[in-house]
């Protein structure tokens, strides 16, 4: 349990939390502002992903 490693780990957690917060707000605002009813994108993905068969 080296204090340096704990510091680095905490730094990592902080960084990820920042990214999460930043994109969370961004995505949420985008979703709010550009709201469209969700269309069956899932199907499209599956089609192309498994479409190889």
């Amino acid at each position: 349990m080296d204090p340096l490693y704990i510091k680095l780990a905490l730094g990592g957690i902080a960084l990820l939390a920042c990214i999460g917060l930043f994109f969370g707000i961004g995505l949420a605002l985008a979703a709010h502002k550009f709201a469209v009813e969700i269309n069956p994108k899932v199907e499209a993905v599956k089609e192309v992903l498994a479409g190889a068969q």
């Binding site: 994109f23 969370g24 995505l27 599956k46 992903l49 190889a52 068969q53």
Partner: protein, 207 residues
């Protein structure tokens, strides 16, 4: 797809054969072509994928009710990336030699289509137990594919198996070359198809 009705054993067999990630679903082809040059490589990457698949499936199955629809895909990616980082750190720390042999591929597991796809079509609709067994099946299916390819390539290309000299000479060096991976996967898929048609024909005749 609704929640599965298959038993645990069926889920595993499903991943190994019917929906084998490499030969049937044709997903995660990059490692199958790139580094299936030896059995050991295939086995190790297989273990890594098994780990990531099982843990990601379980995680997603566990939190599936709390995932917001808008950020579904990013959540999957983050989950997978977390487990990939974990296995990457562990391998780098405890198995440095093997880790080096696999190069960039361990870190690339994060973008293997098979894992995202299983989360999307299976784990987010099923219980933790079912997802666990599905993950096991898929992971072993991948490992099986990698080991088979690795064995063929190692024997034909280097004349060795698991590092031991079995032939004493190198029949076709061509098979070690990465380009040969494409050919071999093609041949193997064709073989799977052929066996399947044979099996179906026999089943029909039998009925």
């Amino acid at each position: 797809m609704a929640a599965t009705t298959k038993t645990n054993m069926q889920l595993v067999v499903n991943g190994l054969l019917n929906e084998n990630p490499i030969f049937r679903l044709a997903l995660s082809m990059c490692p199958a072509v790139g580094i299936s040059t030896t059995v050991a490589n295939g086995l190790l990457l297989g273990v890594a994928v098994l780990f990531v698949q099982v843990f990601s499936s379980c995680t997603i199955a566990l939190i599936k009710d709390h995932i917001h629809q808008r950020i579904r895909i990013p959540t999957y990616t983050l989950t997978i990336a977390t487990w990939v980082t974990v296995i990457d750190l562990v391998l780098a720390a405890y198995l440095p030699v093997a880790y080096k042999a696999m190069g960039i591929f361990v870190r690339l597991i994060v973008a293997f289509a098979i894992i995202t796809m299983r989360l999307e079509v299976f784990a987010c609709r099923n219980t933790v137990t079912a997802s666990f067994w599905d993950g096991i099946g898929m992971g072993f299916g991948f490992m099986f594919g990698m080991v088979t390819l690795g064995a063929v390539r190692e024997v034909l290309g280097m004349g060795t198996l698991l590092g031991y000299d079995v032939l004493g000479f190198r029949p076709m060096l061509f098979f070690v070359l990465p380009a040969a991976g494409f050919f071999l996967v093609g041949f193997m898929m064709a073989m799977f198809n052929y066996v399947e048609t044979l099996y179906n024909r026999r089943a029909k005749r039998g009925s």
